[in-house]
């Protein structure tokens, strides 16, 4: 079987809340798969079921063709996991937590190899391993979990909003690590509620909303769904000049600035025209997931907000 993760009609309820409402998700081997959805869409719930930490109420889920609940221990030998909200033991240092998790995962058999990997990651993520768990900031807790995940080789990396507490510099280090494990043939499931975050990394994306998968495909095939917002200073530009901009939708002028949106796959045609107009104060905002939902599904983010 070539699919590493497969869920069919997965349902999960918490009392009256339906967190997953017939979710279909397929991740093929070797993919870096973006798992996109607004807060409360059911990403973390799906991931917990895939890890055998929770059970679905209906539907099926398989990981490497096995059952995530009954075969949890065997599967976990092949999986690295970074939770959405990393908790650490208050009295263990970050270094101790990393060592413990790595040993539980059997990643320390080759001692010098492990020590070298740990040291390299520690330096790359600029993490101080000698601090107690309770003294770390959210971002540093995230780094501890990332180092623990990448210090032991895995066949599947399940990462739940792994960059939410990281500064952009560390985001680059993270992308490098993802590139490294993908090049080695691992599969990655990367959840996020920010479209642009998965854009650079993920070959394929599944978008979920209110516990259902609403789109899945390569990013290029989804490009038509998104519009980029462009704005610049109006300084003496007349309506005729503005009308000459190709592929511009919803053009408006207010507060001294011109605004319009363009289909993301048409942006290359727009930019040269803006250059000839010699516009000042140009800003280009990548589309947000919320806008995408607003435009294509007639509503904003699904209710909720808890992650």
């Amino acid at each position: 079987m070539n699919d590493v993760i497969e869920t069919r009609g997965l349902v999960k309820r918490f009392g009256t809340v339906t967190a997953l409402d017939g979710l279909d998700l397929v991740v093929a081997a070797g993919q870096i798969h973006g798992f996109l959805g607004p807060n409360g869409a059911g990403k973390s719930t799906t991931i917990r079921i895939l890890l055998g930490l929770a059970r679905g109420d209906a539907g099926t889920a398989t990981v490497f063709g096995a059952h995530p609940w009954t075969d949890a221990v065997a599967l976990h030998r092949r999986i690295a996991y970074v939770p959405g909200d990393v908790s650490l033991w208050p009295n263990l240092t970050g270094g101790e937590a990393i060592d413990l998790v790595s040993r539980l995962r059997g990643g320390t058999a080759d001692k010098p190899g492990y020590a070298a990997r740990k040291a390299r990651l520690m330096e790359a993520f600029e993490l101080d391993p000698a601090k107690k768990g309770r003294t770390y900031s959210k971002g540093n807790r995230q780094k501890v979990a990332l180092v623990a995940a990448f210090a032991t080789e895995a066949q599947l990396y399940i990462l739940d909003e792994p960059t939410s507490g990281l500064d952009p510099l560390m985001g680059a280090v993270f992308e490098q690590e993802i590139g490294r494990v993908a090049a080695a043939g691992a599969t990655v499931l990367l959840s996020s509620h920010i479209l642009s975050e998965v854009e650079q990394l993920c070959g394929k994306v599944s978008i979920i909303r209110a516990g259902q998968c609403v789109e899945t495909g390569t990013l290029d095939s989804l490009r038509h769904l998104t519009r980029t917002e462009v704005s610049f200073a109006a300084d003496g530009l007349g309506p005729a000049q503005l009308a000459a901009i190709p592929a511009a939708h919803d053009v408006s002028v207010s507060g001294g600035r011109v605004r319009f949106t363009a289909d993301s796959d048409q942006l290359n045609a727009v930019l040269p025209v803006l250059a000839t107009l010699n516009v000042a104060g140009l800003t280009i905002n990548p589309p947000s997931l919320e806008e995408l939902f607003l435009r294509h599904y007639g509503d904003g983010a699904a209710p909720g907000g808890a992650s």
Partner: protein, 503 residues
């Protein structure tokens, strides 16, 4: 000023139930103590005899404080003041301490003690609490984390208790044989100052001025320190820890031990202290000829069976306290499971190749080990102190037999709380501690307050065998072991089907 008011209101709102429970609990404790003493030690001669015994036993003076004669008010104050003062150090806030003072006063008055003395006793308890409020605030200035601050403050409370204990143990004879004068170390301790009021006898409020000035000095120090300190950064830097884990930290069992050993050590120390007291008390009572029938009767109401020597009776009674400590330790071991789950750290272990049943079983094993350690510590301490106090060699066997007899009830708690964890995770913490308190009230104090036998039989502690005399009832212990085994088996089986409940 307005913001202070708002903060205060918020804090009171947040803590109102906890505070109400504390205040009510302390008030009831004062009431029960007064009532129980009036009932159990109704006549002056009985009380005088016990005081004579206590005065001859520095260990008791060290734990309780100093007697000031045998009238029932003075006797009650001697019996419970140190304990109430310790409770007062646990609550935070000036208003809380005022409420606590009121609760003690009202409790004593309802318990038919003299009103003037009751007020003095209540104010003394509140004043001690106020002093430690100051200590806690100063500690917070020096420590970076609230855990560190709480730990330091708790250590200082213990230090104050012990310093006062040493002073009281070294006390000298007073105006009459039942009256003692504290040694100078007692004057170094806020608890000692509270004691010096001589409530019900002298009602002298002057020493409490020291408590209040001490608290005021602490508050002034806090304001001075605060002015020099950046928010978040404290005077002492946090120590750096290990960058790499010890080689032994490689399984979930090892993790459990790493997380729990400090509290296991604490419970074991409490067990050892109780054992120490059991051994030394037993021999003193024996030496006194076992003549104090009302004391022996009071002890007998805790311990079933009739054929023991006074030594065995005291050991059995003191070891019922050890049994509670062991059960509490077991309960806490299981509660750790729940804490790990709620905190989210259990997820890190269970997302690694560790089976959920294995993880669960590891904590039960740790609970068993902890219980055995508590019992061993108590047994060794009791045997050693008994021998040192000159009891015969039989005290060794008696001590270990009494310790072993506590095992079944503790294991019942381990099992039942673990089943709670599997079936009703949200209730683990509250129900676990609740069952322990219920078992203690029904099984141990039930006899004192005359509860019907069926109610007392609900408590596991009621079925703890007393391993002395000719016809020891082992059946209760064996049944409890069987019940514990069955419940643990069921819990383990069900754990295989239980997902994580982090909420």
């Amino acid at each position: 000023m307005n913001t202070v008011g708002i903060l205060l209101r918020q804090r009171l709102r947040r803590d109102r139930w906890q505070l109400a429970a504390w205040v009510l609990g302390v008030g009831l404790l004062a009431l029960f103590a007064a009532a129980a003493i009036a009932q159990t030690f109704g006549n002056d001669a009985d009380r005088a005899q016990i005081l004579a015994l206590a005065i001859a036993t520095p260990a008791i003076l060290m734990l309780r404080g100093l007697p000031e004669g045998s009238p029932v008010g003075a006797f009650t104050y001697f019996s419970v003041f140190a304990f109430l003062a310790l409770l007062a150090t646990l609550i935070h806030g000036a208003i809380a301490n005022i409420l606590m003072a009121l609760a003690v006063t009202v409790g004593f008055i309802i318990g038919k003690l003299d009103a003037g003395g009751s007020l003095c006793a209540g104010v003394a308890v509140g004043a001690v609490g106020l002093s430690f409020l100051g200590v806690g605030l100063v500690a917070a200035q020096f420590m970076r984390t609230s855990r560190g601050a709480n730990g330091t403050a708790a250590a200082l409370v213990v230090a104050a208790y012990i310093v006062r204990g040493i002073g009281d143990a070294a006390s000298t004879a007073g105006s009459d044989p039942l009256h003692r004068v504290a040694g100078w170390p007692s004057w170094l301790s806020p608890i000692g100052w509270g004691q010096q009021t001589g409530a019900f006898v002298r009602n002298n409020y002057a020493p409490l001025a020291i408590n209040v000035s001490f608290a005021a000095a602490c508050a002034a120090a806090v304001f001075a320190l605060q002015a020099r300190r950046d928010t978040g950064a404290s005077m002492l830097p946090v120590r750096a820890g290990r960058a790499d884990a010890r080689a032994s930290l490689r399984t979930s069992l090892a993790l459990g031990w790493r997380l729990q050993w400090p509290s296991i050590a604490g419970w074991s120390a409490a067990g050892a202290a109780t054992g120490l007291l059991a051994g030394s008390l037993a021999n003193i009572l024996q030496a006194a000829g076992g003549g104090n029938t009302s004391l022996l009767n009071a002890v007998r109401s805790i311990v079933p069976g009739t054929t023991q020597t006074p030594t065995q009776l005291i050991i059995a009674a003191m070891f019922s306290v050890v049994g509670v400590l062991a059960a509490a330790c077991a309960t806490q071991a299981v509660i750790r499971l729940r804490q790990e789950e709620v905190r989210g750290t259990a997820e890190a272990v269970l997302a690694a190749p560790v089976h959920r049943v294995r993880w669960f079983a590891d904590y039960l094993v740790l609970g068993l080990v902890a219980v055995v350690l508590v019992l061993l510590a108590a047994g060794v301490a009791s045997a050693a102190s008994g021998l040192a106090a000159g009891a015969g060699g039989t005290v060794v066997g008696d001590s270990f037999a009494a310790a072993a007899a506590q095992l079944p009830a503790a294991l019942v708690y381990l099992a039942v709380v673990s089943l709670l964890f599997v079936l009703v995770p949200e209730a683990t913490v509250a129900a676990g501690w609740g069952l322990l308190v219920l078992g203690m009230i029904l099984g141990i104090y039930g006899g004192m307050v005359g509860l019907p036998q069926w109610a007392r039989n609900i408590s596991p502690f009621q079925h703890t065998p007393v391993p002395f005399g000719v016809n020891t009832q082992w059946a209760g212990g064996i049944w409890m072991l069987v019940i514990a085994a069955v419940v643990v088996a069921a819990a383990t089986l069900l754990m295989g089907r239980r997902p994580l409940h982090s909420g």
